[in-house]
Symmetry: C2
Subunit: 108 residues, 2 copies
């Protein structure tokens, strides 16, 4: 995991913030890995970043809103979303945002 | 730390993703805590979420772009940004995004 290499804006970010239940750590980790592999193959996927402490934050980046809708409606992703609600998440929030500007810093 | 309680969109998100150096964990933690306290007092601050594993992700939410500019230009925050570049961060990316829609889930 490193900082996502995204193109110049505009593009879209999906900010997914969640609090886990204590259930099924193994099944969750396995599904999370599978979803990353699937997302990376989607048309319009640009990258993602993820970290979890008390809250988990996954930000995924997409070229268009259509790409976000297609990923949300992906058959295997729908199964993951349903199991997320039944088993894995105490609560979560999804925010869809248009990235308007970006800048960075890197040590030489 | 829990999921930020934000108002209905539109509002702004600043997605700050970083990779730490191994330097000065104590000074970094102290400054991070101080910056949270200061940010919370800024006009237009709506909340934030933060987690760090290999990458650190802090998403802060703001009512307006002006509020984001004011926070970036805050005198004590500028000192933190400078020390961030000299000591704390290997690299980072700041993305400013307009949240257009949001939805959530919570277990009953």
């Amino acid at each position: 995991m490193s900082i996502a290499q995204t193109p110049p804006p505009p593009y879209y970010a999906v900010i997914f913030t969640s609090v886990r239940t204590i259930k099924d750590a193994e099944g969750y980790a396995s599904m999370a890995q599978k979803m990353v592999g699937l997302a990376e193959k989607q048309e319009g996927y640009l990258g993602h970043e993820s970290a979890r402490e008390e809250v988990g934050i996954t930000v995924s980046y997409w070229a268009t809103e259509e790409a976000i809708r297609n990923w949300k409606a992906h058959a295997e992703h729908i199964i993951a979303q349903e199991t997320g609600q039944s088993d894995w998440y105490q609560n979560y929030c999804v925010r869809v945002a248009k990235v308007e500007r970006a800048y960075g810093f890197s040590k030489v």
